[in-house]
């Protein structure tokens, strides 16, 4: 089976994350990484290919640095990597991103039909979790999202989903889109051999023109929302740190009562 995994390059969650003056995520800190939750997506895809045969293509959209994200995918076992890069993409919202990724998936499918599109459950910068649905809609694929478990059998993908108020088992015929959670698997750590091999694999780069897309449909110009202001949250004031001297429980109770929290 042929699987495309969409991945994103994001600022490191352990780093000092912030916004630029125009309200977009500051991607210039230089400590970006493959979105940790996308490692679960790559792992799920690689495992499916190990079971059923086929190959995995990792796909990303973003500035030059984003190539690191698909490189990581190659190290983890993907056979091909595609990077959509274009200056006009800066400031793209989730709708534009979905359109671009959909166009890239269609282009990849020109070399053989794609059976499954896999994404992570969210990107650790935006955490919106809406891209999988938008991408499924743009590609007109059935969606099986938030999978804590994925299996493919007889042209049908089956997932177990842990939702807010229920657990669900959902099936969809292939081709389909699946998003996986961090419960789905334990992403492998690539060994030295895999890292070296990935270095030799070329990364295909496509521009908007290569995908037949117009710059007016993407980027900040096409965005449906605009950030008016981004402000760092002021640190909490009047913080108190005490060490228990035998009465800390009583002091907590008093604190809650004094601050009308009970």
């Amino acid at each position: 089976m042929k699987i495309v995994v969409c991945v994103k390059h994001v600022p490191d969650v352990q780093g000092d994350r912030g916004f630029t003056d125009d309200g977009t995520v500051d991607r210039g800190q230089g400590d970006g990484t493959l979105n940790e939750l996308d490692e679960n997506a790559v792992e799920a895809a690689v495992q499916l290919v190990e079971q059923h045969g086929g190959e995995v293509t990792v796909l990303t959209m973003g500035p030059a640095d984003a190539e690191d994200a698909v490189r990581r995918g190659l190290q983890m076992g993907a056979a091909h990597a595609v990077h959509v890069q274009d200056d006009a993409l800066e400031g793209s919202d989730a709708f534009a991103t979905a359109s671009v990724l959909a166009a890239a998936v269609r282009r990849i499918a020109e070399d053989g039909a794609v059976d499954l599109v896999v994404t992570g459950m969210a990107s650790l910068d935006g955490l919106m979790s809406v891209l999988p649905s938008l991408l499924a809609a743009r590609l007109d694929l059935p969606q099986a999202t938030l999978a804590a478990e994925v299996t493919v059998d007889g042209g049908v993908v089956r997932v177990r989903r842990e939702l807010d108020h229920a657990t669900e088992v959902l099936e969809a015929p292939l081709p389909a889109l699946v998003s996986v959670t961090d419960q789905a698997n334990q992403p492998r750590y690539p060994n030295f051999k895999a890292i070296m091999a990935a270095r030799k694999t070329p990364v295909t780069t496509w521009s908007l023109a290569d995908l037949g897309l117009d710059a007016s449909e993407v980027g900040a110009a096409g965005a449906r929302t605009r950030v008016l202001e981004a402000t760092p949250r002021p640190p909490r004031e009047d913080r108190v740190l005490i060490t228990d001297e035998g009465d800390a429980g009583v002091r907590i109770a008093q604190y809650l009562v004094e601050n009308r929290l009970v």
Partner: protein
């Protein structure tokens, strides 16, 4: 005339969830409010949404979770009511529905909003937290229509002075074109405690509990709180995965968060940093949670929590 606001009210067997009542309250500032329930919802739901200011209740049946089919049904409602804004609570299922709805109605989309305002000309402005709530964003919707998923506890639910008597209409959801098939759906068992996502008070156990949640549960019961956990605690199987608070689990923003044996890893902070007041008990004085705790206590949770519970019972003997 101001365009109506459609509010998707999540309910449990026809009883609106607290998050839905908060949304109805928030919606009243934007325009006349019409409630929408998915699946069987009758007189009780109608009375309750009326109490919070809805002049109409639209019931979509059959109850389904298929986002595409639901989005099509909601889009028809947007069309017939002339609604400019659709509000829903920011659950994983609703966010998928919000995405499809925004796509088919060409609306602006904001999810996980922590607040809602209107700007001049009726445009919707939202407030969001970003990067583990270390940043606050204000965003403007640039389309005439907006779909906004609001986090629980963003707005306190307050009834209107004189309850409305909503008209109830039923609308069909066309599930015939659905390609996905739900093979099995198991509602999560209710614990008798408040729902974690909606609770005003949350007591959380982490690695420091070493799997013994009795002190956490005792304090939670005194406070009428929901019980949550860190990733470590759920991965160890000490408590169900649904209790996990963090970037990939539940996001909570209660008035009061109490962390017991919680170190405060960035993953966890992403799910709780927007809490009102943070109290933390941890044996390690270097635990990062103390950087964000309003009251931090270095000590043994197994003696401190029961003492706090006992003192609270003494101060409030009626509780």
């Amino acid at each position: 005339m101001t365009a109506p606001v459609l509010v998707l009210v999540d309910h449990h067997d026809g009883v609106p969830r607290a998050s839905g009542l908060e949304l109805l309250t928030a919606a009243r500032d934007l325009g006349p409010v019409e409630a929408v329930c998915i699946g069987e919802a009758g007189a009780q739901a109608a009375a309750e949404v009326g109490r919070f200011g809805a002049g109409a209740l639209h019931v979509l049946t059959p109850g389904t979770t298929a986002p595409v089919a639901l989005a099509a049904a909601l889009a028809r409602l947007v069309e017939t009511t002339g609604a400019a804004t659709v509000l829903m609570s920011s659950t994983f299922e609703n966010k998928e529905l919000a995405a499809h709805l925004a796509l088919v109605t060409d609306a602006g989309l904001v999810v996980d909003a922590a607040g809602l305002e209107t700007a001049d000309g009726g445009r919707v402005v939202t407030v969001q937290q970003a990067f583990a709530a270390t940043w606050t964003l204000r965003s403007e919707v640039l389309r005439p229509r907006a779909v906004v998923a609001l986090k629980p506890n963003a707005v306190p639910a307050t009834p209107v002075d004189t309850p409305f008597e909503p008209t109830v209409t039923t609308h069909d959801v066309d599930v015939s074109a659905m390609r996905e098939r739900v093979v099995e759906r198991t509602p999560r068992p209710t614990s008798g405690r408040p729902d974690l996502t909606e609770a005003q008070v949350v007591v959380v156990g982490g690695r420091g509990t070493e799997g013994d949640f009795s002190a956490v549960e005792e304090l939670a019961d005194v406070l009428g709180a929901a019980v949550g956990a860190t990733r470590v605690a759920t991965d160890e199987g000490w408590i169900g995965h649904e209790a996990q608070i963090g970037q990939t689990g539940v996001t909570v923003s209660p008035r009061l968060y109490v962390g017991a044996g919680v170190s405060g890893a960035v993953h966890h902070r992403g799910g709780m940093q927007a809490s009102g007041t943070i109290v933390a008990v941890n044996a390690d004085p270097e635990a990062p949670i103390f950087e964000i705790a309003d009251l931090g206590v270095v000590g043994d949770l197994f003696t401190i929590l029961p003492q706090a519970a006992a003192e609270l019972r003494r101060l409030r003997p009626e509780g």
